[in-house]
Symmetry: C2
Subunit: 298 residues, 2 copies
């Protein structure tokens, strides 16, 4: 019973998911915990991780002292930020080993099982990531203000900009622009006040409405969705130019935007072989070191 077990952890802003497999890849158990964005307080993040882990252990009929033979891998948003990783790794953990990498990296590991390929995440934000011949490349994903093209937040902000243009009379109003201005009592001051407090996730809530109007051939809806798809395509093309033979897409907007991509791109999108949690299992397995507090690839 001294054989290693492998735990994959997916660390997100609202929850933490964990999956335990044995060396042969058999599923032993799964669990969930609280927020585990690694920019949060490290004690909170560790509590979330260990809650998810212990639930998976308990499902597997294992005990607390089995933690010592668990090799854990975690994919987490924000793990590209060295200071956040250092803060997390400043705490003791009970595992045989613990490695952490970006959520993009574990998504890629799962999707291509470590082979050449690229992923494109399009949700509230957007990010492209590929690995070719062991070389990692990020394309996009540098944040809402100057990056995250094609994302829900970008679509929402572009929408509100055009709603203002329509109010000013710079472009024709459409059913979509009228509907949104109506939400703000037809008063741009109310809209501007809302913008003053809006976060990317607030803007992103408009993406489904934009898609819905685009499907009803609203000119503004069509323009915004086409623009988002063009920007998503630009990121995808760069990843392919870097040598990625195929693409996997993730995030709530990837599927809705897919039919708007140029057909030669659509044809290169393949289903992921495994999810990001199994990508994290693979991260745990392939990490060379068995020591504590390792942090590879950063």
């Amino acid at each position: 019973m001294s054989e290693f077990l492998f735990l994959g952890i997916d660390g997100g802003g609202t929850k933490c998911r964990a999956r335990l497999r044995d060396a042969e890849g058999n599923l032993l158990g799964e669990g969930a915990g609280g927020p585990s964005n690694i920019r949060l307080d490290p004690d909170l993040v560790w509590t979330s991780i260990l809650t998810a882990c212990r639930e998976a252990l308990s499902q597997a009929g294992l005990q607390e002292n089995d933690l010592g033979r668990v090799r854990a891998g975690m994919g987490a948003a924000g793990a590209g930020q060295r200071s956040a990783v250092a803060r997390l790794l400043s705490r003791q953990h009970p595992f045989a080993s613990f490695v952490i990498d970006t959520d993009a990296h574990t998504a890629w590991l799962g999707a291509f099982e470590g082979g050449d390929g690229a992923i494109l995440i399009v949700g509230t934000g957007s990010c492209g990531y590929g690995v070719v011949d062991g070389q990692r490349r990020y394309v996009g994903g540098w944040g809402f203000e100057i990056s995250d093209e094609g994302s829900g937040a970008a679509i929402g902000r572009d929408l509100l900009r055009r709603v203002i243009w329509a109010y000013d009379g710079r472009i024709p109003a459409t059913p979509l622009s009228n509907a949104v201005l109506g939400d703000f009592s037809n008063d741009p001051e109310v809209l501007v006040d809302w913008v003053g407090k809006a976060r990317p996730s607030d803007y992103a809530r408009y993406a489904p409405l934009v898609l819905e109007h685009a499907h009803q051939r609203d000119p503004l809806g069509l323009e915004l969705v086409r623009h988002a798809a063009d920007e998503m395509a630009q990121i995808a093309m760069r990843l392919l130019d870097l040598g990625a033979p195929a693409l996997c897409t993730f995030g709530g907007l990837a599927e809705p935007l897919r039919p708007w991509l140029p057909p030669p791109l659509q044809q290169l999108i393949v289903p992921p072989r495994a999810d990001a949690i199994d990508g994290a299992v693979l991260l745990a397995k392939t990490s060379q070191s068995g020591g504590r507090n390792d942090c590879t690839g950063l």
Copy 2:
């Protein structure tokens, strides 16, 4: 000596300027005070206003008790915000009358001496404003996040977005993108950290560099300046479509962008007849009421 005097006040974020004229329009004196953005503490704003006013009064050889025959007009950024105006007007003032309006309105009043016309302000932010047949129209100027097209802040943010694209390999690097990335130690993480703290005025500081590279035919510089001029033109065209016979431009970027506008637009740009402070004098003169704490046009 019971004849009214007319005081024009230009209220800005860093200083307050005042000019005193008699009923015939003769210049009696000028003065300056501290910050008078009306979103600031009203007691501070009134101190700035009265400092500027007393300096002008003293230049004119007048006394404190002459304040009672001064009719004052003020143009101020933020005066479109009713709550800020109400806060300012909650304090007593020593004038025979006091009226306040937006800085765009007093700029227009000065530029066209109350006649039909439109103004376009392009600096850190941007804003279009016109009055035709007594009807006021704002075009643009709804803030950095979803408006202020063609402004210095918009140029700077677009620049940084493209610097990231060049870093990612999505577009070719140029001398301009290389120079800017070099300012951030060639590290996009450093750039992203900067963006996290940047205000519109920080982005706007890149506008002169973009213009300089555009004049050296840098492809990225050319694209950004052309785009800003197109957006400035879009605002100008809307104001002309609304019936404005001519345009006056203000702000640090108006002159540099002017040669990039379509010639038919350039031909409609005329010099202002008077400045915004004399626009505020006109505001004081033409306001119907002599009572206290009047706030016209809002």
